[in-house]
Symmetry: C2
Amino acid sequence: MSEYTPPLRDLRFVLNEIIDIEGLSRLEPLSEATPDLVDAVLEEAGRFSREVIAPLNQVGDSEGSRLENGVVITAPGFKEAYRQFGEGGWQGMSFDPEYGGQGLPFTVATAVEEMIGSASLAFSLCPMLSRGAIELISQHGTEIQKETFLRKMIAGEWSGTMNLTEPQAGSDVGAVRSKAVPEGDHYRISGTKIFITYGEHDMAENIVHMVLARLPDAPPGTRGISCFIVPKFLVNADGSLGVRNDLRCVSLEHKLGIHASPTAVMSFGDNEGAIGYLVGPENGGMRCMFTMMNAARMAVGQEGLSVGERAYQQALSYACERIQGRPLGADEGAAIVEHPDVRRQLMTIKCQLEAARALQLFTAQSVDLARHHPEAEAREQNAALVDLLTPVVKGWVSDMGVEVTSMALQVHGGMGFIEETGAAQHYRDARIAPIYEGTNGIQALDLIGRKLPLAGGQVVRDFLEDVRRLDDELAGTGDELKSLRQSLADGVAALGKATEWMLTAGDDPRDAAAGATPYLRLFGIVAGGYMMALAALAAQKRLVTGDDETFYRAKIATARFYAEQILPQAPGLLGPATRGAGTLFEIDAETLNS
Amino acid sequence: MSEYTPPLRDLRFVLNEIIDIEGLSRLEPLSEATPDLVDAVLEEAGRFSREVIAPLNQVGDSEGSRLENGVVITAPGFKEAYRQFGEGGWQGMSFDPEYGGQGLPFTVATAVEEMIGSASLAFSLCPMLSRGAIELISQHGTEIQKETFLRKMIAGEWSGTMNLTEPQAGSDVGAVRSKAVPEGDHYRISGTKIFITYGEHDMAENIVHMVLARLPDAPPGTRGISCFIVPKFLVNADGSLGVRNDLRCVSLEHKLGIHASPTAVMSFGDNEGAIGYLVGPENGGMRCMFTMMNAARMAVGQEGLSVGERAYQQALSYACERIQGRPLGADEGAAIVEHPDVRRQLMTIKCQLEAARALQLFTAQSVDLARHHPEAEAREQNAALVDLLTPVVKGWVSDMGVEVTSMALQVHGGMGFIEETGAAQHYRDARIAPIYEGTNGIQALDLIGRKLPLAGGQVVRDFLEDVRRLDDELAGTGDELKSLRQSLADGVAALGKATEWMLTAGDDPRDAAAGATPYLRLFGIVAGGYMMALAALAAQKRLVTGDDETFYRAKIATARFYAEQILPQAPGLLGPATRGAGTLFEIDAETLNS
């Protein structure tokens, strides 16, 4: 079984030297988040992840969750770990102190969630979905709804879910058919929902389902969807649990990965109809759901990083222990980490994880600034930047998670294919992230269709200008960062051209759509390069003062490796992103099968 | 459960119009392989694959093989299918008629094996290992050994294995410790072997193990390794089965994929020592094993194609059935195959499968020419080309198999992650191919270290010249192939530069090794582009005569798609291939973990 060592040093580096975590504590609502407190939170989160959750990862995979007589029994240890998670206050980190939250920056919560996800992705999904539901009720719920649900949810005593998907309504949420019929102060909900993460389980006393359904005579499509709170147990006026609501888990899916996370088929209203409470306006459910989805999309991107980091640590540990062959130029057998090709794999993983971590926390910082900056213009700018970067984080980082877990498995040679080694679990677990919360294809379409046009293209142009401006700083750094300067310049030039092409793509909307996926990849690689350049510049400054030389030298080495091995992919994506749809549709669907 | 449709049309296209299968039948030993016969063989192999083997693929995955009291019981249906496989003569397709083989071209056998592998990769591994053992005994065995073993093995009544790996001897075969002590006309073998595919099973009457072991006082390393035939049951003088040899299956591995293929830990000589017969000279075992390994490496590359094709067919079928959302520019919901991003994924898979299939059969043709061409020089040239291309086929096609099965899974959205859908099995099964028969890292080192220097670099330079020369033909084809001409020229230019760099890389052997993996990928992408250009030119010629327009138009479309979407990666690999080892070793192993 693999150990997990929280990457506290790198998290602190990003928080303190790439972004400005201390600056966030100068914003009024975040004033308690002093550097000392943030440090203590990270330390304790690291300990909790390493000691309490990480040991459950493999047993969660082999035992999984199971459904028995309508009850879902989670894997051994999960219930107790979840209790400790709630008691430790981890569920409420970034939420409103009025309802028991700790009011910490979203950025700090993001750093913590990376570690929880590395410790056990399957475990982390329960709190992740709960966060979405808490966010939704916080922003769109009535006072009574907040009072009734938030405190228990923030305390981690009740969990939350998202009920969007139905068999005919996946990427096309507008096709939802579940029904909601008004009845006094509530509604009667009926319908079948699929792919409901932690839709039923034994870790929390109550499960608060956020359900999309249609009122009678609602308009078709997404404009006719409303959002409801549908708790597993109704809540009495005194806050105690009342009768069981008319909803049940029909079955659990047998999945490629995240076995410990129960994926439920939920049936609402088999009898008299489940009681639900409208959140937000009638037919305004999509806006509510987007509240959950944007945060969830960032979180799902981060899953690629979390599982990738765990897989990396395991591969590195194997590579340092496994003696095999004589490395080139050596006289005797050595650990395979000394072989250039194994080293290449490890560095390829490491540099991309570092880039992804920085991009994740960079985006999270903008979430905090969008919420709490005193100036409206700064809030708007940061909100727009979050909108722009969310599909990039979701798509690029989750794809990267699949690639690096595959590479980490490969480092193990034949042992990687044996399930007991554990490398295969990371590979299986990571595969979900490009799929859910909007497939990466949907993310790419969101990026080109909704995000690039923000403010007439000014949001993306401003971001690219920030990347380009870094060239002035890189120019003064001498030979050490020469390859970084060059490849970042080439990368951002390609991204700039592709962006202008996307913003002005012609009459056939399929042309831009045809290039959306390579465009997102191009964007991610360049955004990652931007992060690595910020990291290298920060590291150079610290080297001047002589601090922690080994660490900062390594930072420059990974930045250079990223520049020399990853960024060169960028120019090659310009053509694929801007070719248009012509060749795509030259073959009709029938002929594709010949 | 997914159906399988043998890609007979594309196989015939490659055999008849990219390579010259009819030309092979003009070689004396292959004269019976007339076009009509080849066609009938392909047709029947397709039927057998589709009807008999393909239905076993999913049950093989869910049931797997299991070990009970030393006996391995294969999944339901496997034993009967293997019997039919043997009776149909499929095991002996390309082997010597003197021992019951059919003497067909290796190229035809390769085409057939693609289909068997698509039908069930796990099933196909038993015949694949047997082929290696047959090849080895055919080339290095004594007349008595041939007489004793070949007939039964070629008939598919007995199967064969390769016993190389030991816990301390994986990529480093020279570290083998198993012992062989001479005793009269045989040897007593003892030792433990791991990762033995079909090391024990119930499908064949006898299992003929090819075992690497060391004689007493053998020199260390690979120069002290000998190869032995160690049958599960000894064979009496009259050819009947005799007593059980002293070897047993200790356990089976629990693997990520290919569940139906038993991966055994084998123990030889727990008691008096297993009886083994020396093949080839004492201490000459490595040469014997390379006979098996080269063919096996081509076959393992092909596994990426086989599983990729099956995954593609399933994804396409899903994409044509699944209605979701309105495609851009359409008024109503349609099958997702009409969405540009889904179409992009399908075309990305399809064009690479076509390129891989052509490269596989192109290389196989050279195997036949190397064996049977009347002129020694042509035999040598073709043998050298096979040597050069084998690691490219193994590495590039098996990596591609992982990528395209992942993409095929993604086409299914959430359903792809559900095991019952079957897409996940392809993704899991395909993952073994980059690992075994020499990891793809080992292939890359073989390519740069042993294959590029062949004939002082002339072999690879000749191949590149063949690719470049195609430009003359492409020049005359007008606008339709303009993008293909351009991107192939850019690709071969990058490959040419990288090749010259590799051939003249400086003093530190780690520099070339550091770039070996991106170099192999670059080589594969350009070789694939070469195949697609040959395909496009052939298709254009047929369009002039008005044949089967839909098929040939599609050929040109996939070639263009490959040119516009895959080949543009090539120039971006030149830098990574030629950077040297500098950045790789700037961080010491300890610091990698921070």
